[in-house]
Symmetry: none
């Protein structure tokens, strides 16, 4: 099985993404995780460009990588410096990594405009820089920046730059579509010509500006590239780099090539999410292979088929990349979605019973009103219990009042008053909050805490508002989605109303009910109901 | 210049995306916008699968599309129904669209497992269904579902299904990679064989499960496909469909083919954002061509080069797709952005004045707090006037109080009390609303109506809430965007606060202020201030 090297530049090119930001500590964590995943090369940064990256390489000695080789990134020498005194090359040497990756110009436009030197001088820059780093005993990867654009502008010159890197002893030459503007068909043709021109092994580095970064990387491998450079989740400047979370499984599962191996592939989803967390970005749910929605089925027609034969609607088994199948309940769903979902949640229902029909009908009605149970499985479960098992309420609401006041230019003030009963015992209390919903949440938990101490551990961890028919302006219906955690589990609930306070109230009540049911079970509620 | 048809299925396949949800009203808005953009076909929904789509087609008669042809989507007839009594086909006919798109099975596995019929029977289903719809005078597009997987499993049979559709008179046959699992190289080969097998024009429908949907669509066009099916922003089930916002510019700008034409292409970014708004999804900043980051340069080596020669680091001119170049971080760029924006709004400012610096600083501070002036130009203008021209307020707030009450299981009740002064005259009044913000809006307009009768014509036409830091749950900061109309003009305003009532209040006050300034100008406000 042919081996393709995976070269990760999340920590360098990926960190150029507009909302991506890693501390030195984050970078060390990510590097460790990528090593565990079986990535072959980890590019840690550009020591010549910023002090954070210098700090990273200094601390990288602690990493003790098991498999990956660490690379430092930089450019060919400055036109007016000798290699031995070039600030950038010296920083690369000082980074003390086994691998150094340097980029040079392949595009005549860049040589003239960005560097302001002659085409011949640029070849000298490439030759001397590569040779110098080789003389320091490094594995040298040469990134031919803008190769595909350069080829289009002046094919002979672009190829000559590869020849210069090869002559100087580069271990690998990587063809870069730096601006990401090359279509697959053009890239194939140019890659093929380059591969006939040099003997050095070739790699591929693509960007996503035409939404073709992954396809272009795969096309290059099909033409003989032995290294793919990319980033986790496709992070990177502008529209991002080739997404290794798609490249790796495409190579392993579709082309039968070896990258990180089947065993490590099972950790791909986990590592993808880990990197998002450290980059402080919400994981994209629609990412191929590793996204939460990647094996999610919504349409009724699909779900019944998926249950019969998963290969019919899934291009791979999600477990192979550590992901999982999910079935959504939505307006588009038929009976089979509801039943599948119920089964997944461990809820018992006889498929042929009239109850099943009742649940489906009720759900459709609620969805029509704007309910959505995606991300609100706890509300689904509570509804299910209520409809099928006549599950009683844990408390009875007498009433609440939420007040928001603003006097002149002062900060606003929000307060909630609530009166409810548990087992016939009344609780009447009040709380403040930064806003009306926050006040109501606090008042509700304060009043119930007396009866059910466990809800003191419960915290809201996410609050989302969606206006369902925004064109009705302030009379519009709103859907509130809440995520709650008790330190062990996390669950989602939903509420819909034209009144945002009431929508929030419904989601809050479900959130608390879920916790109480989890803690005390049906028995406790029934014993109360009996009183 | 060869024409490639663009077939948009945002309203059908796109709405299968996990977080995508359109109301009937939204669907009508989107269809109108797609028509304006020059899209050739708009697939409105699947009338056989849900009542919302039936409602859409009923109301679609109002649309009066200028260019696009509306399509209804459905499947071949049920194995046990005659075409004239098939519920799904009847729903398609009743949708009364010029175009009908039906999908049939190309994959033997699906025929056997999902439909449970013989391969021969499936060919009959396809033939009869296509012929029936043709007999009703429709343009019939046949979607060969799972064609590429079917081809792999049983090439002869997959091709036979195309033959059946062709024989029955299909106007177009679209090859679908329904599971999205096909690599470009395989897709090319299978598309080529299919194109030699049938004479009917071919289209392509791809999904993004290998992150290749766009590349696959483009590859098919290069091999002769004359129609591309996809969705705006790539919305769709699982990992989404081919993203038309990338497909269209790739075809127009890279392959020199005609789709919507260069003039309409300038609206691509705007329409992309419009569709996100209606789908209530945050626009992805890293989308190719239309994303906010697509032509964004971080400070450093790129920026100085971009200044010298934009082609050096941009694969196309962003203006061609209605996008813009952005340069991050640098203070200078911030100032020029602000000045550019001010100029755009016809606001006068001396570039070298210290005022310009004041405005830039204030805006940066507000943006850091979560303000955003896209879609809220009126708030930007008011802020500008206040900072530079010390524009006075039209009224002074003494205070307001908003109360939401719920008693037992009754409907909630919201009421706002407001006390304010105009020219020293006090107004103290109250109003109800369906929710707290609606009550506050009514109370504010009621109280000011006495002094400024013109605001009685003012109506809120849009209200949006976005939670800025959802993980802080109910303590999170929220941004409220309001759109207001007086029948002639429409303007947008924004408010940010941790308290949703206050955020709404700020946006409401700006909205009213904008109207008053428009109606009475600065003079009136100054005369009041002088009293």
């Amino acid at each position: 099985m042919k081996k393709i090297q995976i070269y990760d530049t999340t920590l360098r090119d990926g960190s150029q993404g507009e909302h991506v930001s890693f501390s030195v500590e984050d970078k060390l964590h990510v590097a460790r995780k990528l090593d565990e995943l079986g990535i072959d090369y980890i590019e840690g940064g550009w020591p010549g460009s910023n002090s954070k990256d210098i700090a990273f390489f200094r601390r990288a000695q602690e990493l003790k990588l098991k498999h990956a080789r660490l690379a430092a990134f930089g450019s060919t020498r400055h036109p007016r410096s000798a290699v031995a005194h070039d600030r950038n090359l010296q920083a690369l040497v000082e980074a003390a990594t086994p691998v150094v990756t340097i980029f040079g110009k392949s595009w005549d436009l860049h040589v003239k405009v960005a560097l302001g030197i002659s085409l011949e001088e640029n070849l000298t820059l490439i030759r001397e820089s590569v040779a110098y780093l080789k003389s320091k005993g490094r594995e040298v990867i040469y990134d031919a920046e803008h190769f595909f654009d350069g080829f289009k502008a002046d094919r002979e010159y672009a190829l000559a730059t590869l020849g210069a890197a090869e002559a100087a002893g580069a271990d690998m030459i990587v063809l870069c579509d730096t601006n990401g503007g090359t279509l697959t068909s053009d890239l194939r043709e140019r890659f093929r010509v380059a591969s006939e021109h040099v003997k050095t092994p070739l790699g591929i580095h693509t960007h996503n500006d035409c939404e073709m970064a992954v396809a272009n990387a795969i096309a290059a491998v099909e033409l003989g590239a032995v290294q793919v450079q990319g980033t986790m989740n496709g992070y990177g400047e502008r529209t991002g780099n080739a997404n290794l979370c798609s490249v790796i499984p495409n190579l392993e599962l579709k082309l039968g090539l070896r990258t990180i191996g089947r065993e490590k592939l099972k950790h791909l989803t986990e590592v993808s999410h880990y990197v998002s967390e450290l980059a402080n970005l919400i994981p994209r749910h629609d990412l191929p292979y590793v996204g939460k929605s990647a094996f999610t089925h919504k349409a009724g027609v699909h779900v019944s088929a998926v249950m019969k034969e998963s290969a019919a609607y899934e291009h791979i088994d999600p477990a192979v990349v550590g992901n999982a199948r999910r079935v959504l309940v939505s307006e588009l769903s038929g009976k089979s979605n509801v039943l599948y979902k119920a089964e997944e949640l461990g809820l018992e229902i006889d498929k042929s019973s009239p109850h099943a029909k009742v649940v489906v009908e009720k759900l459709k009605e609620m969805e029509h009103d704007g309910y959505q149970f995606e991300g609100a499985e706890a509300s689904f479960q509570i509804l299910f219990d209520k409809l099928l098992h006549h599950f009683p309420e844990f408390f009875e609401l007498d009433g609440f009042r939420v007040i928001t006041e603003k006097m002149g230019r002062n900060e606003p003030y929000s307060e909630a008053v609530i009166k409810l009963r548990v087992d016939g015992k009344e609780e009447h209390t009040a709380a403040e909050g930064v806003g009306p919903v926050s006040a109501l949440d606090r008042a509700l938990r304060k009043s119930l805490g007396r009866f059910f101490p466990c809800i003191r551990d419960v915290r809201l961890t996410d609050y989302k508002v969606r206006v369902l028919n925004p064109r009705d302006a302030t009379d519009a219906r709103v859907r509130v989605l809440i995520e709650t955690s008790d330190g062990h589990d996390t669950w989602g609930t939903v509420g819909v109303s034209e009144n945002i306070i009431e929508a929030s109230w419904k989601a809050l009540v479900d959130s608390i009910t879920y916790k109480l049911k989890k803690e005390y079970g049906a028995k406790r509620a029934e014993s109360k109901a009996a009183k």
